[in-house]
Each structure stands twice: as C-alpha cells, then as structure tokens.
C-alpha cells in the first residue's frame, strides 16, 4: 500500500514539475514560510530556532576554553555537530550520528569555516595554549525536508546571537570577568540553498515528499557578496554542467532572502 501511495505522489509531483509547478503551490525557486527566533535557549551562549515550513531545527552554541590545533596555534576552534534525534522523524534511530547526520554537520561546518564567518584569530587567548572552542550543536526536532538549509541558517543565526564571557589574560591564567560578555566576532553570513532535481527541474527548498522522490540534490552556500563558499551534491543521481551553473545562479539570488532573517 505504502508503495502505491508513494507511486501516485511521485507521478503527481512529476507531472506538476513539467509545468514548473509544485504540490504546495510554490514556484520552483521559492522557499516555504520561514521563521527564526534567537536566544530562547537559556543555557546556551547563543541559540536559534528555525522553521522552514514544518521543518524545525534548534541550534545552540557553547563556548569552552581549550587548546588550539598545532597548525593554527593562534586561532580558536570551531566544532559543528548534528544530532538527528528520533523524536524528529520515524526514520531516525537512536545512536551515534550516521552518515546523514555527519554529512549535514560537515556541510554546515564548511559553509561557516570556508566563508571565514568567525574571526577565529580573535578567539585566541594564549598563543599555542588556550583558545575559545566554539561548539555549534544542531538539534533537528521536526524533519519535513531540507534539513541542510534550516541547519545552516540556524547555525549562523545562533553564532550571531552568541556572547562569550569577557576575559583578561594575567600571565598564563585566563580571568573571566564575571557578568561581562562580548559578542562572538562573526563577520560573514553564509547561507545554504539546497535544490532537489525532480523530473529534470531544480526545486529550491525541497519538502520531505519531494526529497523522497528527488533524483539528486545539490547545496550551494554563498556569502553576502554572492561568492560561492561551499557546495555539496548529495544522494545518487547526476547533474549536468548547465544545471550546476543554474543552481549557483538561483542560490546567489535567493540567499539574500534568507539573509534578511539574520
């Protein structure tokens, strides 16, 4: 039965695609309604709750003092993690992050890292010894498609919302100045735009129904200047050169809408 319904849904989405239409009435390059709230998670240093249609993602940031990597002794550390908790979807299983959760985290991570969104050198406390480690934890709570864009938007939003304790360095000691905080030095606003390819058409912001039947998927992360900072083709299937160029072009335009929420 499930198969028959899936087949009927697929046929319907395909036939609409031929007319450049979608099941929920959107145009091919249109996002579902988006909402974004920041600062609601009181134990996080920064947080954002993002809804894109029915998809819901919470991102929280935490800061800890830790050690730098040996090859970047005067830079802070950024760590992005995603949990696909089973509360969010009947297909998510408890356990350590699977390949989908890892891909999600790494695509979001690259968008932030490669756009130099955070001034990591401002997060060095004592060169080679102590730096701020920024944890960005993506908690998906309702999965109705396009987790990447929701997570990327939530991540940069939570980072922009983040305040870290003011500190003084006295010799080799880090002194936290109680109660005083400064904003995390975030200087770029990378935003991810994800497309499903369905019946040869690129559909921005695929819903879960669209994801179930898409031929392939591609994500383009751009910065505020319209430069490309990260890309990721996902799942099986293929794209042509022309499709990729078109995806980049649409992403450069539509990302500005997302950036208005930041």
């Amino acid at each position: 039965m499930a198969d028959i319904i899936a087949e009927i849904k697929k046929d319907y989405i395909y036939s609409l695609a031929e007319k450049d239409m979608r099941v929920d009435g959107r145009s091919l390059d249109q996002y579902r309604p988006i909402s974004l709230e920041t600062g609601k998670m009181g134990r996080a240093q920064g947080s954002a709750i993002v809804k894109i249609g029915n998809t819901q993602v919470i991102v929280g940031t935490k800061l800890e003092i830790g050690e730098p990597f040996p090859d970047t002794p005067n830079e802070g550390v950024l760590t992005v993690n995603a949990e696909l908790v089973p509360l969010a979807s009947p297909t998510f299983e408890p356990g350590p992050p699977d390949e989908n959760a890892i891909e999600l985290a790494r695509v979001v991570d690259r968008g932030i890292r490669e756009s130099d969104a955070i001034k990591l050198d401002n997060l060095c406390l004592i060169e080679g010894e102590k730096v701020w480690v920024t944890f960005v934890d993506i908690h998906v709570i309702d999965h109705d498609g396009n987790l990447i864009d929701a997570s990327a938007l939530g991540a940069i939003s939570a980072l922009l919302n983040t305040r870290l304790p003011a500190t003084k360095v006295e010799g080799k000691e880090i002194v936290i100045e109680e109660g005083e905080t400064v904003p995390l030095p975030v200087v770029q606003k990378p935003v991810a735009c994800t497309f499903a390819k369905i019946n040869g058409k690129l559909m921005l912001d695929p819903s879960l129904d669209e994801e179930h039947i898409m031929e392939t998927r591609v994500t383009v992360t751009t910065d505020a200047d319209g430069n490309i900072r990260a890309m990721q083709k996902g799942i099986a299937g293929y794209l042509t050169k022309e499709e990729l160029i078109k995806a980049v072009q649409i992403a450069r335009e539509r990302s500005q809408e997302l950036r208005k929420f930041l």
């Binding site: 949990e83 089973p86 408890p94 934890d137 908690h139 309702d142």
Partner: protein
C-alpha cells in the same frame, strides 16, 4: 558537605524560597500539545527554566523483529539532553544517568498504557531536554503523558509527575536547580492521580520517616496540580467540556 558557591539560605525569613515561591508551590508551568508534525503525538513543557519536548511514535511495527512480544506492545523510552541544555556542554549520546532515567520513565508509563491492545507493536516515547533546571525527568514525564494522549494511545489515566525535596530542613515542592544542589533531599514522584497509583518514586538525601510521609503527601498534591494543567492543555488542543 559545604559546596563551592552555596547560597547562605534557601528559605528566607518570611518563609519564601529564593524565587519567591511558597514551600508547597510548584514553579510556573506552560504546556502545549501537538507541536510537532512528524511525530504521532507531541507536547512541550516549560516548568521554571526547564524546556522539554516529548514525542510519541506508535503503535508501529517494531524492529528488530526479535523484540516483538506476541501478546503486548513493547514500550520504549529515551530521555535525552541536548548538548546545550546544561551549564557545561554535554557530550551527545546516553550516559549512565540518562540510561537510568530512561528506564524509570518507561516504567512509569508501562502501568498506564493499554499495551496489550497492540500485540507485536512498538510504542516509542522520546523526551528531549532543551534547557534543564532540576526536575527534568518529572517534567519530561508530564509532557510525554500528553504526547501519548495526543498520539491516541489508550491509557488508564494520565501520568503526572513532580519532585519534592528538603531544603533548609523543610519539605518543599518542585525543587529548582539551586535548591537541588544545595538542599538535603530530592524525591521525584510520578503517579496516575485519579487512581492514586504511584508509578515512579526515587529518593536520595535524608528523610526521617515523618518527613517522608509529609513529602509523599506533598508530592501527591503536586501531581494533582500538574494533572489539572495537563487536562487544560488537552482541552485547549482538543476542546471538550
């Protein structure tokens, strides 16, 4: 055991607590039912600073198959905390504390659910703590109870839960984090209030037998307060008299 950073007193001269509550007063509670689309049932609770989501999936086909029980559904529960729910970032994944809480929370529901109506099926309860400030297992159970109702799982009664404790030598209802850390006793209780059946009880600290009886009375009273709030939340969502 004097701990670092302990406040001098947890109960002020006028008999109120640090957040202004009376000894037998629960924290402000906000409940919402049906807030997630994918889950079969869901609910959200804010109780003081606690922010917790609960979702239920099922009755559904149970995998792996060798877990299926021929005459009843298998009820499972997973209590989880987000990495940003506590003061120090928490490493994702279960730890000994969350494994124990998942167990006792599941056991608090096994008595309430008519699992035998769904042989071979699975009923999964997920509790996600987004922000924590003591009493999360109780608040999570209170929310999960609504998620079960929202999923249409038949139950003997709602399960309501709240902790009681002892601070500055006095028995009080619904500890905050600071009261839990610097108080003497913590006792989470869950029950089916209309049936007076206690389905979760843990305790640690120090109670004389008199204090225990007093605390138990107070916990039952507290559960009944929560019960009314749960019913209101269901009415808000589903209407009715």
């Amino acid at each position: 055991m004097a701990k670092v950073g302990a406040p001098e007193k947890l109960i002020t001269k006028d008999g109120l607590r640090l957040d202004g509550r009376r000894l037998d007063e629960p924290r402000p509670v906000k409940l919402e039912v049906g807030i997630l689309k994918r889950a079969d049932g869901s609910a959200y609770i804010e109780q003081g600073r606690n922010k917790i989501l609960a979702a239920v999936y099922g009755p559904r086909e149970l995998h792996p198959r060798h877990l299926q029980k021929p005459d009843t559904a298998l009820v499972r529960c997973r209590y989880n905390m987000s990495p940003f729910s506590v003061p120090e970032r928490r490493r994702p994944g279960p730890d000994r504390r969350t494994i124990e809480i998942s167990k006792v929370a599941r056991e608090a529901f096994e008595q309430a659910i008519f699992a035998e109506h769904y042989p071979r099926a699975g009923i999964d309860i997920f509790i996600e703590v987004l922000e924590a400030d003591a009493g999360t297992r109780c608040a999570g159970i209170t929310a999960a109870s609504l998620a079960l109702a929202d999923a249409g799982i038949p139950m003997k009664d709602l399960v309501s839960a709240i902790a009681v404790g002892k601070i500055d030598g006095q028995v009080v209802l619904d500890l905050t984090g600071i009261e839990d850390n610097y108080g003497q006793t913590d006792m989470p209780v869950a029950m089916m209030p209309r049936r007076n059946e206690i389905t979760l009880l843990q305790m640690d600290g120090h109670f004389t037998s008199e204090e225990f009886e007093q605390a138990l009375e107070l916990a039952i009273k507290g559960c009944k307060i929560l019960y009314e709030k749960q019913r209101e939340a269901l009415k808000t969502k589903y209407g009715g008299p």
